[in-house]
């Protein structure tokens, strides 16, 4: 299952809500930048006046006065610019912080079933790549666009005020400018996205080669990996060539506008001046404005481009907030701690049932081992029993209340699932454990760690429980990470536990030892252990053999062995009897 991506309308609506929420600072920013841009327009105007004055004869005082006005304009622009820039950058920081925090909030509230099925890759990409891509656009892009737009508009207005007739000529290149920009912007986003995808693939290839360096060496995959790098580079080159082609059209298109405009103004202005309709100074000023407005126009096009690219990231970020909840808490208090599955059916894909109407009752304090071939539906059954997915048909209930009717907080108190997935969070060992019980005292942590045979190595770490682990901290082996996950479960202490290959990364003997110490602590708790090692089954109260989405055999180990079915055959070959 893929996570949703918001459509354009939703993204626009979201951006509009953000803007509306920050209307006041936005207005402030526009006002400040308008002031700054106004002051910045003084230069050509003063020069125009000077040209007029010099041509017709003037006084030193007049020149000095004009220059002083120029000094005042520069000083004003300096001061206003300082505040305008600061306000807009602070604004960008605030909006972006808000956006990313809202996003993380939405991610951590995703329904259990979505998290289980979507996989972490896509979510991690959205949290890192997309958020970072957006950062540039929101922090710098939005303020820059405001500045560019304000400057362009004011420049045009001033030209129209000085000499509307002359100013008409400056628009000579505008139609072609708009056309070529439109042409470019339509194609640019897919082009640049292809580029970044190509580089991401290249980085992935290198990452794989480095992380799998041993495998590459062992199987003599070097030439293959090399060919892959070259193929990725070739794709990056093709992507670069495409955007380069776009720019080869865009650049001359825009440059032409700014070559044509001043020449046209000069010629047309010259004609008007010869008819005494305008002054030479006015024409001069407008020619200079034509040059001066080049920068802001380029900047605007650049940022529209960037913002377009960022909008795709925003669509993926907003998309996460569109996932519907997979359950609605209803009233009902479980009568007791028994778990009962009735006619549980489930399909990940329409028409491909993974479970076919499973019935199962778990007695309180019972230990059930689930065995069966890969792909038989053991893990899916485990998830149903833990209330992760709502079943397609049938129900799993605790004390008569369907698991999916329970509020999440309560559900965790009843049933918890530990899989072979091992993630160590950035933080201390204690932080990692306290996820399950925020206020757990150190003694409780010790007890939990002892229960999973982890106390010795935790104590041997540089700072014991306070040792920083996770990305950037002390490295833990996958087996140790699994022990931490189990210790967490001990702290959480639900009455029913589902362990899906939860000790598979330990070596067999250590695994068995751990399972024994764990079962001592979990005395009285109901445990469903999905396992690929038969000793787990041997130690359990009952064994369920799952094949092709059905429970084909269920009963005590000895009874099953005596019955002489599948399980017995397996056990005998294992036993070598």
């Amino acid at each position: 299952m893929k996570l949703p991506i918001a459509d354009t309308a939703t993204v626009r609506a979201y951006a509009a809500v953000l803007m509306r929420r920050h209307r006041r600072p936005l207005i402030g920013i526009v006002v400040l930048h308008t002031l700054a841009a106004t002051a910045g327009l003084a230069g050509p105007l003063i020069l125009g006046l000077l040209v007029n004055a010099v041509t017709t004869g003037t006084t030193t005082t007049y020149i000095n006065t004009l220059v002083l006005v120029g000094v005042a304009a520069v000083l004003t622009q300096t001061v206003v610019m300082r505040f305008a820039q600061r306000t807009s950058m602070v604004f960008g920081e605030e909006v972006f912080a808000e956006l990313r925090e809202e996003f993380i909030e939405a991610v951590t509230a995703l329904p259990l079933s979505t998290v289980e099925r979507a996989g972490t890759g896509d979510l991690v990409a959205r949290t890192t790549n997309d958020v970072n891509k957006l950062q540039h656009a929101v922090r710098f892009g939005v303020p820059r666009v405001i500045v560019a737009v304000v400057t362009i508009v004011l420049t045009v207005v001033v030209c129209l005020v000085i000499a509307p007739l002359v100013a008409l000529a400056m628009f000579v290149g505008v139609p072609s400018l708009l056309l070529v920009t439109r042409w470019y912007l339509k194609r640019a986003t897919p082009g640049y996205r292809r580029e970044s995808a190509a580089y991401a693939t290249l980085n992935g290839t290198i990452t794989e080669s480095v992380e799998g360096a041993r495998t590459v060496d062992a199987l003599r995959l070097g030439p293959r990996r090399l060919a892959r790098v070259d193929a990725d580079l070739a794709e990056a080159f093709a992507a670069e060539k495409y955007t380069l082609r776009l720019r080869t059209i865009l650049f001359p298109g825009i440059d032409a506008t700014f070559v044509l405009a001043p020449a046209a103004v000069l010629l047309w202005g010259g004609y008007l001046a010869s008819q005494d309709l305008v002054t030479v100074g006015a024409v001069t000023a407008i020619v200079l404005y034509c040059y001066q407005v080049t920068g802001p126009v380029w900047e605007l096009i650049f940022w529209i481009d960037e913002i377009q690219v960022a909008a795709v990231s925003l669509a993926r970020i907003v998309g996460v907030q569109l996932v519907d909840p997979d359950r609605e808490p209803r009233d009902g208090t479980p009568a007791d701690e028994t778990i009962a599955a009735r006619d549980v059916t489930y399909a990940y894909r329409e028409g491909h049932n993974v479970l076919h109407g499973i019935d199962l009752d778990l007695a309180v304090g019972e230990r059930l081992a689930v065995v069966g071939p890969s792909g038989a539906g053991k893990s899916t059954l485990g998830r149903m029993l833990a209330g992760i997915h709502p079943p397609a048909r049938g129900s799993v209930a605790v004390g008569g209340v369907p698991l999916i009717d329970l509020p999440l907080r309560d559900l965790r108190g009843h049933v918890a699932l530990v899989t072979q997935e091992h993630h160590v969070f950035v933080g201390s060992v204690a932080d990692n454990l306290r996820l399950a019980q925020v206020d757990a005292p150190p003694e409780a942590l010790e007890r939990a760690l002892r229960a999973v045979d982890a106390w010795d190595w935790v104590q041997a770490m540089p700072d014991g429980l306070a040792t920083e682990v996770g990305s950037g901290g002390a490295p833990l082996t996958p087996a140790q990470a699994q022990q931490i996950a189990l210790a967490r479960l001990v702290l959480l202490d639900p009455h029913t536990l589902v362990l899906d290959e939860a000790t598979s990364l330990l070596d067999p003997r250590a695994a068995r030892h751990l399972e024994r110490s764990l079962s001592a602590v979990l005395e009285g708790r109901t445990v469903v252990a999905i396992a690929h090692r038969l000793h787990t089954a041997h130690d359990a109260d009952r064994v369920a053999v799952v094949d092709d989405g059905r429970i084909v055999e269920i009963g005590a180990h000895d009874d099953l062995v005596a019955a002489g079915g599948d399980y017995a055959a397996l056990w005998h070959s294992w036993q070598h009897e």
Binding site: L47, L50, V54, I63, N64, L75, T78, R82, R86, M89, V90, E94, R100, E101, V107, T108, A109, L110, T120, T128, L202, N203, G204, T205, I206, S209, E211, A213, D217, A218, L219, R225, L233, A234, F237, E240, L244, V259, A263, L266, A273, V280, T284, Q292, P373, S374, L417, Q420, E421, V426, L435, V438, S471, R488, L489, S504, H532, L534, W574, H576
Partner: protein, 577 residues
């Protein structure tokens, strides 16, 4: 544009970053030269433009609408046309330079990575190697892309200075001396800004890590709680990042303001001087306009010079990091072969443990310490010449380390316990030698009992595996890796714990098919699983790193120590019997 990547990236010097940068420059001197010529032409034309505008004001506007004005406008258009063409073609050459240099650097890193074996991970963190391609190679390219603009800017500066000096010596001197002063002053202010930007980037990097960490462990979080702790942590870091950003804004806004103030004042001073000269009659109005135009234009070359400085320093740092990767010496085969390869069908002997691998037999290696047997099996494949000097292995009496490395790899294949899968079409990833037929593929898939993988990858054999085969379960990955190793079908195949992650049902099936498939071919299996041991020709039992017993599994079971290791029952139960 020449197509990239190049077939042969060449052999670079690894003496230092500067040597690498020069080497790259020399390899692409042709396109560098063209780019620089185009850049110089473009900037020279740009520098002339204000001069022509000034002439137009004097000749055209002041003397009425006539041929002078037409000529001036024509010249402006002609200059503009040259600028348009040289800028568009120049941009293509700049990009060509950038891509050529950075792709070459990426290729070189790719080459090192695919040959190094585990030496690369032993010497450098994965992140640093990936970053050499993801960042450093691109930074290296930038310096070649900026070269043309930089040299063009220098020429433009010279042109403007010469033109100004011709008009008026004092004005010329102000330009020649004033502008570098302004640039230097701005340069000084960049330092504190960069410090704050670095602090902001660091905070933002930590935030990204935190986000990725939360999302990677999201299944755990959603399963047992703790979301609020994590969103709280993220929010806190997000706010810290925002504050760092605000600090950047403080400094940046001051710098922005000064970027208005200093060049603004520079222009005002020039105009003031110019206006007085014009009033005195030594300067025409047109020359006054040119002066203003020059002053406005020169901001650009100064900006280019600053960018070049930054690009050079970044490229130097990047080249340093790339050189660090290129210096990694492969862990095996760094020196040429010293002996001829023995005939096929000879014994492989590990001297320290006394392990003899006889041709044509399927041998299992059992040890109380699974790491120990894995270590011995691994050195049969020769992975690290330095580390394995003390533990000689001989093939037909010849030291493995004396043989040609490729020869060793093609005859002996060691598949380790945690082999890595790579992204790509499933069929292609299985058939790493590219020689297998569809039937061969299906045959090894059957042997490894990996049919379910064909169902779980959309499109089966043609379907794409994601990075590291992440979409598959641990057991599925192991079976795919097993099929891949079987398909290579080497003279000697060593499999370390090939079934550790699969369930007992599957393991039982694999044991039969695997031993059947390798019957008569030299094979070493490291495993303690009775399901597998039952089917091998012979078992070698290790204690304290030495082979203490050899024989068939059922015969060795009489040995208490052996039984304790392979028995599915714990030691105490064995004792109790």
């Amino acid at each position: 544009m020449r197509s990239l990547p190049l077939a042969d990236p060449g052999t670079p010097p690894t003496s230092g970053p500067s040597a690498l940068l020069w080497w790259l420059a020399r390899r692409q001197w042709g396109i560098l030269l063209v780019a620089v010529l185009l850049g110089v032409t473009m900037f020279a034309c740009q520098a002339f433009t204000p001069y022509i505008v000034g002439r137009a004001v004097d000749d055209g506007l002041s003397h009425g609408f006539g041929p002078e004005l037409w000529r001036a406008c024509g010249t402006l258009l002609a200059l503009g046309l040259v600028v348009i063409v040289t800028s568009a073609i120049g941009h293509r050459y700049d990009i060509a330079n950038w891509l050529r240099a950075s792709f070459t650097a990426s290729q070189l890193v790719g080459r090192t990575v695919s040959r190094s074996g585990h030496a690369i991970t032993a010497e450098l963190p994965t992140g640093e190697v990936v970053s050499a391609v993801a960042n450093d190679a691109l930074r290296i390219g930038e310096v070649y892309a900026h070269a043309a603009h930089f040299l063009g800017s220098l020429v433009a500066y010279g042109v403007v200075a010469a033109l100004m000096l011709r008009v008026s010596v004092p004005l010329g001197l102000v330009v020649i001396l004033g502008l570098p002063t302004v640039a230097a002053a701005l340069g000084l202010l960049v330092k504190p800004l960069q410090r704050k930007q670095a602090a902001q980037r660091e905070a933002s990097g930590r935030l990204t890590t935190l986000g990725a960490d939360t999302v990677s462990g999201l299944r755990i979080l959603r399963g047992i709680g703790g979301e609020s702790v994590f969103t709280g942590r993220y929010r806190e870091q997000s706010q810290t990042t925002r504050r760092r950003g605000v600090e950047v804004a403080q400094t940046q806004s001051v710098l922005d303001a000064l970027q208005v103030l200093l060049p603004g004042m520079f222009v005002v001073v020039l105009i003031w001087m110019g206006a007085h000269l014009a009033q005195a009659g030594t300067l025409t109005p047109g020359q006054l306009v040119s002066t203003y135009g020059f002053a406005a234009f020169l901001a650009w070359p100064v900006q280019n010079a600053t960018m070049m400085l930054q690009a050079t320093s970044r490229a130097h740092i990047g080249a340093g990091k790339v050189v660090k990767v290129l210096r990694v010496v492969p862990s095996t085969g760094a020196t040429p072969a010293a002996a001829d390869a023995p005939e096929p069908g000879v014994r492989l002997v590990d001297e320290v443990s006394g392990l003899v691998v006889k041709p044509g037999r399927v041998l299992a290696l059992v040890s109380a310490d699974p790491d120990e047997s894995a270590r011995i099996a691994t050195r049969l494949g020769r992975f690290d010449d330095d580390a394995e000097r003390e533990t000689p292995v001989r093939l037909g009496g010849v030291l493995l380390s004396d043989l040609d490395k490729d020869d060793v790899r093609s005859r002996i294949v060691v598949a380790e316990a945690t082999p890595q899968l790579f992204s790509g079409p499933l069929g292609g990833e299985l058939d790493v030698r590219g020689t297998a037929s569809r039937d061969d593929l299906l045959r090894v898939i059957a042997t490894a009992d990996a049919h379910d993988v064909l169902d779980s990858v959309p499109d089966g054999l043609a379907g794409e595996l994601p990075e590291k085969g992440r979409s598959l379960s641990g057991g599925q990955r192991q079976r795919v890796a097993l099929a891949r190793a079987l398909l290579i079908d080497p003279e000697i195949l060593v499999l370390v714990e090939p079934t550790s992650a699969v369930d007992a049902h599957t393991e039982a099936r694999i044991a039969v098919r695997l031993t059947e498939a390798r019957r008569g071919r030299t094979t070493v299996l490291v495993t303690a699983s009775p399901l597998v041991l039952d089917h091998v020709d012979e078992v070698a039992f290790l204690q304290d790193g030495v082979v203490v017993a050899r024989g068939r599994h059922e015969d060795l079971l009489d040995d208490v120590a052996y039984r304790a290791v392979v028995g599915r029952l714990m030691d105490e139960e064995v004792m109790a019997r």
